[in-house]
């Protein structure tokens, strides 16, 4: 193993300390003694279960639709692909509140698609759990697509060509050869987009509103509690941190193999 230059170590240490300090601050202010009481409250349990449901549903939708998008973006060479790629990545740069407002313009009761959903199917997305999932899908899509698209690009296509010459159908090649090879990237993309969906706040509160048990996910409950009950906000934050670590740590080796 090469020795790491001291300057690099120093800069990395500073960055790690910076990233750690808010976490330390949070833990230091945590009301440990009253924690069991706080964690047992209905509001926290509701928000926790809802957050799990919303984030995993979003990850599922992102997985189903994300792979075809990433495939198309990686393998086709149309001139408008660059534009399409930017459009797909837009939710990453757009402030989530703007994303939520835009979702309202599209899927809200007065939105150009929402109006139609409402008239034809009596379906209103805002103020429902489905609306929270829609908001989470919108913001977390790019994280999955970026990870999977770059994986599609980086794999060597020789194996697929060989399979083709041997007479395998294109769907069989995709399922049996391409997909297994990019599996680690799929997991990485899923983990990233799931985490983004779990932390989603701005688009959710703008598009789906805030209703305990229906649309009040952990971040929304935390935001409200910060102003009215700071101790509950800290307990909720702890729930979020523990949940995300519990899901992400076991997965880490899948996408970044340990040496």
């Amino acid at each position: 193993m090469n020795r790491i230059p001291k300057t690099i170590v120093l800069i990395a240490t500073i960055a790690i300390l910076f990233l750690m300090s808010p976490l330390i601050g949070l833990l230091q202010r945590m009301p440990w003694s009253g924690l069991t009481n706080l964690l047992g409250s209905d509001i926290i349990l509701d928000a926790f279960l809802l957050s799990l449901f919303v984030s995993f549903s979003a990850a599922l939708v992102v997985f189903i639709f994300g792979i075809p998008i990433a495939w198309v973006l990686a393998r086709s060479n149309f001139s408008f692909m660059k534009l399409l790629r930017s459009v797909v990545l837009l939710p990453m740069v757009l402030p989530p509140v703007v994303g939520g407002t835009a979702l309202l313009f599209a899927f809200g009761r007065q939105g150009f698609l929402g109006k139609w959903l409402n008239d034809w199917f009596g379906l209103t997305l805002p103020f429902t759990t489905a609306g929270s999932v829609v908001a989470a899908v919108f913001v977390s899509f790019p994280f999955f697509i970026v990870a999977v698209e770059s994986a599609f690009r980086s794999i060597n296509e020789d194996l697929e060509r060989t399979a083709e010459t041997l007479g395998a159908s294109s769907s069989k090649i995709f399922l049996k050869i391409t997909l297994p090879r990019i599996f680690p990237s799929i997991l990485a993309g899923l983990a990233l987009s799931w985490a983004r969906a779990l932390g989603e706040f701005g688009a959710t509160i703008t598009f789906a509103g805030n209703m305990p048990g229906e649309t009040q996910t952990l971040p929304l409950a935390i935001f409200l509690a910060l102003e009215t009950n700071p101790e509950a906000a800290l307990a909720l934050s702890l729930v979020m941190i523990v949940t995300s670590l519990a899901i992400l740590v076991p997965f880490r080796d899948q996408w970044l193999p340990s040496r």
Binding site: G108, F127, G209, N210, T215, T228
Partner: protein
């Protein structure tokens, strides 16, 4: 921290400039400045009050508008305000303020609907029906607590963090009904009273607190005839 240092440095530079100024031209005295934190429901009225106050007292005024709880949280965390104007007097208690003026203005709540829903006729019972999409303020923030006191348990579909957010939901026709301040009704042509309503309390009662000095002048000014005139013009009760 560095921001307040920078401000100190700026102040120093400014003082030096003033000294030069005095020495060479004998120009006007150093301008005084106060920071006002005010509840967002007072945005239009307090802006008008400040305009008058600045002219009369020759004090430069910087103002921050946000939800009362949000401002109180910032003040607890060390934000620097000479005057804090809140829709909930209890929020002043654990903060470091001396002079307090309570109840200089009141704001009543009203159930509203989008103006375009002229053909939809609502009645008070609609607040308890599932068929309507309803937005109200969340409990814990002043407009939410007063909503509960006045309208009881409303079957809401979303609990917003501020009355402005409720207003936006109604104005954009995303909901059928919302409960907002009477003053908001005056400023938003896209919403209208959901049914004829008497203007009665329970109301939100505004309180102001100051840390002394020019802040006290400002608080006294909130009680003046000029300010009262402005508050009633914007729909507040006195």
């Amino acid at each position: 921290m560095w921001l307040s240092n920078a401000r100190k440095a700026l102040n120093k530079t400014f003082s030096i400039l003033v000294i030069f100024c005095l020495a060479s031209f004998g120009c006007s005295k150093e301008e005084k400045e106060i920071n006002v934190y005010a509840a967002s429901s007072l945005t239009e009225a307090i802006s008008a009050v400040i305009k008058n106050y600045e002219e009369i007292y020759e004090v430069k005024t910087k103002v921050v508008f946000a939800g009362s709880n949000h401002l109180a949280a910032q003040l607890r965390d060390g934000a620097d305000a000479d005057v804090f104007i809140t829709a909930n007097a209890a929020l002043i208690e654990d903060l470091d303020f001396q002079e307090i003026l309570e109840g200089f203005a009141y704001n009543s709540l009203i159930a509203v609907k989008p103006v375009e829903f002229v053909n939809k006729i609502f009645e008070p019972n609609d607040l308890n029906r599932d068929e309507n999409l309803i937005a109200i303020c969340s409990e814990g923030v002043p407009c939410g607590d007063t909503t509960k006191a006045k309208f009881g348990n409303v079957k809401a579909d979303t609990y917003e963090m501020s009355v402005k957010a409720v207003l936006a939901r109604v104005a954009s026709m995303e909901v059928d009904l919302g409960i907002v301040y009477l003053t908001d009704l005056q400023n938003e042509p896209k919403v209208t009273a959901a049914w004829p309503q008497e203007i009665t309390c329970p109301c939100v009662s505004y309180a102001a607190a100051s840390k002394g000095g020019e802040g006290n002048d400002f608080i006294d000014f909130l009680d003046s005839d000029t300010a009262e005139e402005i508050f009633s013009k914007y729909g507040f009760s006195l």
